[in-house]
């Protein structure tokens, strides 16, 4: 009998704790704590990892960061990423629409793209030097190239996967071709188009960092590489964090715009 009351009591307390404490959130916060603890423990305890900065060292490095330099570098990276990204959309989006919309355009353009696509954007670096004089334009070409294919392929895929009943219904309501494109097909393809943009943004950040590491012309990638060469590892980790933050801001921005354009379904 006493056992029984004990169970009821424990259930009561469990219920209380469930209503007043969000355990999932608590665990999620614990995840960060656990990560930091593990990180410091490994650095302190294992001899081999001693060169890696502890979280504390990284935090202290925050106070001696030359903020002006970091800001200028951040701005440079941002300009390169956004320029390449928007160029990619500006050129890639109409091509994607054309390929998705017309079978002849697809037959003409698609195989050529399929031939070029497997070449990783990074491998274009030496070739870009031939066509673009300024390092700035080389990097922007690279980010453009990285953004181009995800945008084209997702726009094409989004359009060709539109439920056939939608255009049929629109046709029976007597829409003309232009209205069909703007009012039916593009909105229906929007979710996938934004998936492509998100991917493109991720790839542009990878490319910018890689190109800046090689180019010695400023930017966050250069900041990280420079601190590596002067063996200032807390600042390397800090730079990585800042790059991650910039990338996250960009993808959140796209998700935000994407939410506006796909108001009827929340997928981002």
């Amino acid at each position: 009998m006493s056992d029984h009351t004990a169970t009821i009591e424990s259930q009561f307390w469990r219920q209380i704790s469930r209503t007043f404490v969000n355990w999932s959130l608590f665990r999620q916060i614990m995840s960060f704590v656990l990560f930091l603890v593990l990180w410091s423990a490994i650095v302190v305890a294992v001899d081999y990892f001693q060169q890696i900065p502890t979280p504390k060292a990284v935090f202290m490095a925050l106070f001696e960061t030359p903020f002006k330099v970091v800001l200028v570098n951040m701005l440079k990276s941002f300009i390169r990423v956004l320029a390449g990204f928007f160029l990619g959309i500006l050129i890639g989006f109409p091509i994607g629409v054309a390929i998705g919309y017309s079978k002849v355009a697809k037959g003409l353009i698609f195989p050529a793209f399929e031939m070029v696509r497997p070449i990783p954007p990074i491998a274009w670096i030496p070739a870009t030097v031939l066509f673009f004089v300024h390092i700035e334009s080389q990097i922007i070409f690279l980010t453009f190239y990285g953004a181009f294919f995800p945008v084209v392929y997702n726009t094409m895929g989004g359009i060709s996967e539109v439920d056939i009943r939608l255009p049929r219904a629109a046709m029976s309501f007597g829409l003309n071709k232009r209205q069909m494109l703007w009012k039916v097909i593009l909105p229906a393809a929007m979710p996938q188009i934004f998936t492509g943009m998100k991917l493109a943004m991720g790839i542009t950040w990878i490319l910018v960092v890689a190109a800046e590491m090689m180019a010695n012309k400023g930017g966050m990638g250069y900041y990280v590489w420079y601190n590596h060469t002067v063996m200032d590892y807390p600042h390397v980790v800090l730079g990585m964090g800042i790059i991650g933050l910039c990338g996250a801001i960009c993808s959140i921005g796209i998700a935000w715009v994407g939410n506006y354009f796909t108001r009827w379904q929340r997928i981002f």
Partner: protein, 282 residues
């Protein structure tokens, strides 16, 4: 009238013959498209438009390419790059797949690990390079670390999505029939997630090639990425173009290989994952 009807009745669907395949619209347009690229390239070089003066013509590239492939340097480079990609990407598979299965399956595990991984995910792989150089004892490993990071997150996310997309009823049914958590893992979670995992693996392989080339360009002694970089410094443009082509072919080949293997190994692969995969890769 009756004649036409008879003709209509006589019509039997026949599988496409080789001849009809060759002369179909897609093949003709496709060939034209590929040819147009080469013709445009040749013409641009021939008439020395803008800075195409310095660019090698297709014939030159082909000639140099054949000479390059027959040397042992090419095979050493290709082998080195392939090994790095395979090492990094396979390591990513080995770590990311079990991790993703656990994250997708168990809420507690997901709460404890996923926020941290989300924090690390936006950091692009090349940014890890200084740490990799510091962390790993020899250079091979630090080059292979970039494909590892590049492949890790797509594989992880696809695995998680794969587990989350399994119908809840399968878990309920398994539990009703009295299976242990271990049995649920091996008979529900893993087979259910495999189609999505396989597309994640193909994506990871594709991105892994990009990562390996970055790593080799920045810190390398061997490999196709390094060879392109060296050709750039020595101003050997045909070699640059050939290197790009070689990387493209090898990367494409490995993705196709992974896809072929996974389709063979997972006969229950649903078509829905194909569209999912397209939305992620392209």
């Amino acid at each position: 009238m009756s004649n036409a009807n008879e003709e209509a009745l006589d019509f039997v669907w026949q599988p496409p013959t080789i001849k009809s395949k060759i002369f179909s619209q897609t093949t003709i347009l496709g060939t034209t498209s590929v040819l147009l690229v080469f013709i445009a390239w040749g013409l641009l070089v021939h008439f020395e438009v803008y800075r195409f003066v310095l660019f090698p013509s297709p014939a030159e590239v082909l000639e140099e390419g054949i000479a390059w492939v027959s040397t042992h340097v090419f095979w050493m480079d290709a082998g080195a790059t392939t090994l790095r990609v395979l090492g990094g990407v396979l390591a990513a598979y080995i770590i990311a797949i079990p991790l993703g299965l656990m994250i997708g399956w168990k809420k507690i595990f997901s709460d404890l690990t996923f926020p941290t991984l989300e924090l690390l995910r936006p950091i692009p792989a090349p940014a890890y390079l200084p740490l990799a150089i510091l962390l790993l004892p020899w250079q091979e490993a630090s080059v292979a670390f970039i494909p590892f990071i590049d492949a890790f997150f797509p594989v992880l996310l696809n695995t998680i999505v794969g587990v989350k997309m399994i119908d809840r009823d399968y878990f309920r049914a398994a539990r009703c029939l009295g299976s242990s958590p271990k049995q649920i893992f091996w008979h529900v979670v893993l087979p259910g997630a495999l189609p999505s995992i396989s597309s994640g693996c193909a994506i990871g392989m594709g991105i892994g090639w990009m990562g390996a080339v970055v790593g080799e360009m920045i810190t390398g002694k061997w490999g196709l990425g390094y060879r392109i970089w060296e050709a750039y410094i020595l101003i050997q443009y045909p070699l640059i173009v050939n290197g790009m082509i070689a990387i493209g072919i090898l990367g494409f080949g490995s993705s196709v290989l992974i896809r072929y293997l996974t389709v063979r190994l997972i006969p229950w692969r649903r078509s829905i994952t194909d569209s999912l995969e397209e939305s992620i890769t392209k």
